[in-house]
Amino acid sequence: MTNIVTIGMNHETAQVEIRECLARDPDNVSRALSVMRDHQAILEGLYISTCNRVEALYTTDNISEARNSILEVFSKLGGIRAEDLAPSLYTLEDTESVRHVFKVASSLDSMVVGEPQILGQIKEAYFQATRAKTSGVILNRLMHRAFHVAKRVRTETGISDAAVSISYAAVELAKKIFHQLAGRKVLLVGAGEMAELAARYLLSHGVEKISVANRTFERAVQVAGGFHGKPVYFEEIESELVEADIVITSTASPEYVITHEQVKRSFRKRRNRPLFFIDIAVPRDVEPRVNSLGNSYVYDIDDLRGVVEINRAQRLEEAVKAERIVEEEVLRFEAWLKTLGVVPTIVRLKEKVEEIRRTELRRSLSGLGDLTEHQRQALDLLTTSIAEKIIHDPILTLKQKADRPSRDQVLDLTRRLFRLDDNHD
């Protein structure tokens, strides 16, 4: 029996500093996938890396060996010793793991429960896995079910209402600082789905102007176009700081993009008007010391979580509904997983052929008029042996594959060719 395992860390188990280490290099995903592909013990693999989580999802027949190699990957990619990493990690197996994937995809495990970005990130991770050819029958099925669960949770519960997004949290905070957002100016540094969403949300709450800075000016122009904003050069950030009221940062830069010195200088020019930094980037873009300056408020992604906690109670009810959907789907997936064995497939195949034979025989008998008992028996024997001969070779192939790594593919193909799962889906 193949095991489905998740090893990873999220915003709850790991400090932002540790997550930063692993998320620093965007090439880490393909590196992790290639290790998974080449490793003997790992049959299928998928690697998720977002601001708030780093997870390896894989199937294996050899749990401990696979686990060790994954831990090695983490510690190598993050440059952290495995012992230091261990307390931040969780390991989930089989049902637990399936449930976890469903929850992650439907944004139930997100820092801001219900935020819409995670599904896109999971889809991207899956896309990368299929490109790297590390995803197989089980993960394909699992991920497609996960997308389905996410869709159900989004449409059937109120969990993804705007009220729960990180942007909402940021807007609420901005209102506690500025009272009104009308006439305020936003500076968006970098790009990214979450940052752009936050910017859009601020705009819909009356923010007047938006400037967009990016390392590549072309990209800045492109992003600014979507907001009717003003693209600026990356080098102009400091002068933009004098004008801006709210700064959203979301770059992939490993160093601080906005430093204590810069902000301090700009405060003199802006006559101490308050400045609110929303730092969505991991690793962080705004030097944490900036928060100690007067009238300057820096919130990184972990801090925003604290704001969101406040209205958490209101969402509990919807969360229960979402959990029920997840449980339903977990059971369904488990049922499918159980059929993915050689014996159940052969049994099901035989059943199906037998069903067809009987139906057809009954139909023909009524058209043949009066037959003797002997003739009936001959017909029965004839149809049975035809049917058995037809499925003899497929069954033989399945039996031969029982212990091969390609087993799951053959099983899956068989089930699809003969449509054995029709009453399951």
């Binding site: 209102k175 506690k176 600082i177 009272h179 101490n272 308050p274 007067g294 801090d303 604290g306």
Partner: protein, 280 residues
Amino acid sequence: MALILYRLALLLVLLATGGMIVFIVRQRKSVFKWSYRILVAGFAVHTVFLVHQYIAMGTAPVLSLKSALGFFAWTITGAYLLFQLKFRLMVLGSFIAPLAAVLMILSTTIPGTEGATAGPLFKSVWLTIHVVTVFAGDGMFAIMFGAAVMYLLQERQIKGKRFGFLYTRLPSLQTLDSINHHALVIGFPLLTLGMVTGAIYAQQALGSYWRWDPKEVWSLITWLAYAVLLHERLTVGWRGKRAAVMSIICFGLLIFTFVGVSLLFSDYHSFSSLEGRTAQ
């Protein structure tokens, strides 16, 4: 008659204060509405009381610490009601009403009666303007103090990223800072006018504009402190926490000038000598 009016005003202010405190905990708008109405009623009764005193004494009823405290409470309430009209900031009442109530209670605990006709020395229009403007300015500064305390509480939560009981109840930093600004811009000219008219009155009544008595000196220090705050606000752009801290320091000075100096030093400005003179 006067005593009944004052007691009634005090009762209404206390009721309103209680209501405002219930409001900050329970966040029921109706509670605030009723408290606000009761406070307005209390203010009206208090106003009638003051008018009565003014007519009876022939001058502004602030010649003893007792009556001065009562008058101060009245100006604070008045300043709050004005700000309520502009900012519609319900929670400010929860901070200001208790302050007014405490001052009124303090006033009742000080023994002494008032109502005797003031000596001719006190029957001057300059004195009336002096007293009214100084106290109106003080009322504004009390609002500023309340807003500053609220600002510090709220800022600490936002900066420290710990959101407690008060986070949702307190207004935005911008609003609180704006109250600070407005109260200062209105309060400072009133205080200045009060000091100028005081000097004119002193010239008429006592023959010199400035006598360096402790109250005058401390008033000048307080005035200078507020002047610094106003200057820094308008030119350098002091705001937020620094302005709030400075407002609290300034208000401390103001209270010291108002109460402390009167009790510690004995001089022509102190209430004991004022009272002495009313009997003359």
